[in-house]
Amino acid sequence: MKTGIRIATIGTYIPRTRVPNAELAPGLEIQPAFLENKIGVRQRAVKDATERTSDLCQKAFESLLQRRHVDLAAVRLVCVVTQNPDCRIPHTAAIVHRKLGAGKQCATFDISQGCAGYVHGVAIASAFLQSLGEGDGLLFTCDPYSVIVDPKDRGTALIFGDAATVTYLSRKEPGYTVVDSDFGTVPESTECLFDDGRRLHMDGRQVFSNAAREVPESIRRILGRNELTNDDVDQFLLHPGSKYIVDFLRGALGLDHTKVPFGIEDYGNTVSSSIPLMLEGCLTLHKYPRIVSSGFGVGFSWGTNLVEWRT
């Protein structure tokens, strides 16, 4: 999929409040070595109890404004990737649209996807903007899991953090453009991660097994289709579900440490925001011409994008 739409700038918001995991681990019978070497999260970012998903998105937008000028009249799409909307009706993108003061000629919709949400969102929003023929887009991600995680559940309590991001999608500016994508959902795997209306349930064994089986294959497929090898890719942004899964995938694919960032030690696994938080660093550095990003989780679904820098 070559649309010409570029990932130009990313604004981010990570709440300042941090909850240290080391204090909670003993009560959950989690050993310090397991916390450090396998979960890989020392502290988690937690939003204020009064903040909603649209509020976090608005703060990410304020961060974007510190990095660039945004002409809202040129914005023809506001899309929010979330499974934690402000409410069922209306869609959170419409609420964000109102808070930003965006114009009438602007589509709004949410994408319900989890840890693969950004990869889906970039591909969908890029194709959507291409079909419009004019205008730019704002792609938000926000999944504040602090609302749905049971603090007594040792399988999930020390992993997730809150954050939001917004990606400015431009048809004129330099940035990363999607060259190819690979998506999928494992049949009969919905119960590996679900919210029963009260809290999040995760079957860590199933999540690991599905990721270990599907993600390397997805990345190999996309590289093969584009006649690329690992050496041709500058960074692999693998969803940092935990240090253990990233280490496993890096090993399975035979990737160098320097090409696979982790970096969530001080805020946690931020679900749909995890990949754009890493990609923002790549945009700032301006030194990675080709990047593969792969998200995986709820569904069990995965999504892999190959993006390349275009001037």
């Binding site: 396998k38 399988g155 079957d203 860590g204 064994r205 199933q206 690991f208 097994s209 935990s242």
Partner: protein, 77 residues
């Protein structure tokens, strides 16, 4: 015929570092130093090696090396 060695050799693939000399086939691996992610990886290696898909119910019952030998043996008949 699935043997104990067929299972134990997968510990290396899963990067599980335990003393093979001290490994007790009938004792839960969780009691012998394996954590939940070690177990997840070991069961994944079994799935890959023997072409199986282990259901959540079955996974919860596979706690010892002997459980795994018996399980894989039963699935291959």
């Amino acid at each position: 015929m699935i043997t104990r060695d067929n299972i134990v050799e997968l510990f290396g693939a899963a990067e599980i570092h335990v003393s093979m000399a001290d490994l007790k086939d009938g004792e839960p691996l969780a009691m012998q130093g394996l954590d939940s992610l070690d177990m997840a990886n070991l069961l994944f290696q079994i799935e890959q090696k023997f072409g199986l898909t282990i259901s959540p119910n079955d996974a919860s019952r596979l706690r010892t090396v002997q459980d795994m030998v018996d399980y894989v043996g039963s699935k291959r008949h």
